[in-house]
Symmetry: C2
Subunit: 132 residues, 2 copies
């Protein structure tokens, strides 16, 4: 594959970014370095990097897809209050693949899981609402 400065910039942005930006957010940020970059290029490179396994795509079905520069195996929580996506520090749960495979007449390769929850900030807000 041929090198491209735009792709490199996207990769770097995702590596440094601890949130889980959408394509649009990546676009806005990479635009600072490459004012002429187009959204199409961002999408093309995000797909490419996802296929190469250099970044991960997070699809929750709620709003646009998000991307994660951290490819080490880990899970996410989607806060149902504010919609933010956070990393989750937790032990491996790959055993659920075995459980799923027990009565399935095919092969299970893996799973996609994200948790639904309420983040600390939203819990605060709830608490304050109940007081007032």
């Amino acid at each position: 594959m041929k090198y491209s400065r735009q792709r490199e910039s996207i990769r770097e942005f995702l590596a440094d970014c601890c949130e889980h930006p959408t394509a649009e957010t990546v676009y806005m940020n990479v635009k600072k370095e490459f004012p002429n970059i187009s959204l199409g290029t961002v999408y093309r490179n995000l797909s490419l990097l996802t296929e190469l396994g250099e970044i991960r795509k997070i699809s929750t079905g709620i709003g646009p897809d998000r991307f994660d520069g951290n490819t080490s195996p880990h899970y996410h929580v989607l806060c149902t209050g504010c919609g933010s996506v956070m990393d989750l520090k937790m032990e491996n749960i790959d055993h659920i693949n075995i459980i799923a495979g027990n009565e399935f007449e095919g092969r299970i390769h893996g799973h996609i899981t994200y948790f639904l929850g309420t983040c600390r900030d939203c819990m605060e807000k709830e608490k304050n609402k109940n007081i007032s």
Copy 2:
């Protein structure tokens, strides 16, 4: 909520349908009974029924959302070969919510999980390809 024959037909189709149709597929089928029904009405009712908990929405991020008339707790496999979505008979894995909550500074309500796999048909096809 006011009764509507269209909504009832959508609900019935999903209850009888053992696949996991997309909105488009629901539309095509309900059209047999209500030739004038519009896709907008189908979407409106699918959202409504999902909110009421009478059907479930399955978002995999691959292709359009799918819907499931079976609301009893169960999991799905997405065949990476043919894209079909199948029910999975398996024991409850709600303990992963506890695991996820252990080091999270908020509350975990639940999880969305689907498995990736190869269905029996696609395994057959793979086998035949290797022979020929």
